[in-house]
């Protein structure tokens, strides 16, 4: 169970990490792991082994260089920049050609801007109730079927569908409230 509130701002998280709060570091990794992973694996289409190397290296750099971050609220762009730079270094070192297009899991082209937007949606998702977060994450990010979610939560499939719809509506309201 997380003991650091997920509602902590990035600045607060950075300050707690600088104070060597281990729970804050766990939360930082949890908060940005999907983002770093998406840049490596979708943005630059690295192999799983290369993506893992970049992933670990990025968090090592974040940990060791957190004191050099000038604007604590700029944590996400800083991590994004570190990740993109490491991906490019790895591609250059291997003599490979940098991908011209970035591809989403469904085959569409995507961009780092779109990953940033996706990150904003996840931040909004974190403001919803735990059951809503779980429902939407299972269905969209983990590709779990109605049947699988229904079995795990011991609920009828029809209930799953209506809850997903309701939670999606709440997420949309949360996003629109932030606009």
């Amino acid at each position: 169970m997380r003991t650091v509130a997920v509602t902590l701002s990035d600045s607060e998280l950075v300050q707690r990490c600088r104070a060597s709060d281990p729970e804050a570091w766990n939360e930082l990794v949890e908060r940005f792991s999907r983002y770093v992973y998406a840049i490596c694996s979708q943005g630059f289409r690295l192999s799983p082994a290369d993506a893992e190397d970049v992933f670990q290296d990025v968090f090592t750099r974040v940990y060791t260089r957190l004191d050099t971050l000038r604007d604590d609220s700029a944590l996400r762009p800083w991590i994004g920049q570190l990740t993109r730079r490491r991906c490019l270094d790895l591609i250059a070192a291997a003599g490979r050609v940098q991908p011209v297009e970035e591809v989403a899991p469904d085959g569409r082209e995507t961009s780092v801007d779109e990953l940033d937007e996706a990150f904003a949606v996840r931040e909004a998702l974190a403001q919803l109730s735990e059951p809503c977060q779980e429902m939407l994450d299972r269905f969209f990010a983990r590709d779990e079927s109605y049947r699988m979610i229904s079995r795990d939560l011991d609920l009828p499939s029809g209930t799953i569908a209506s809850r997903i719809s309701r939670c999606l509506h709440q997420l949309r309201e949360e996003l629109e409230g932030k606009k």
């Binding site: 792991s33 969209f140 509506h169």
Partner: protein, 85 residues
């Protein structure tokens, strides 16, 4: 008012950020502990030439011999320092 966040687009954006493999996340979360252990190992190696030679010869065996847990971030950092050319 029209919204850029129609539900189909929200679903699409949620799909973009999939969970990273659990082991990767855990390894990254272990970094602070790994750094502390690494500092201890480096201090020992600087004071004990035999231990340092053992680290260079066979890093994982030397760590196991001394009872250190060979986590991924610890091994990565120590390999940079003690890997044989």
């Amino acid at each position: 008012m029209t919204s850029a966040y129609h539900e189909e687009r929200i679903g699409l954006l949620l799909r973009l950020l999939r969970p990273a493999p659990r082991g990767w996340v855990q390894a990254a979360q272990e970094l602070p502990a790994a750094r502390r252990t690494m500092d201890e190992i480096i201090a020992r190696a600087e004071a004990d030439a035999d231990f340092q030679a053992a680290l260079v010869a066979d890093l994982e065996a030397a760590l196991a011999q001394e009872g250190y847990e060979p986590s991924r971030p610890l091994l990565d950092e120590l390999r940079k320092r003690y890997a044989q050319d």
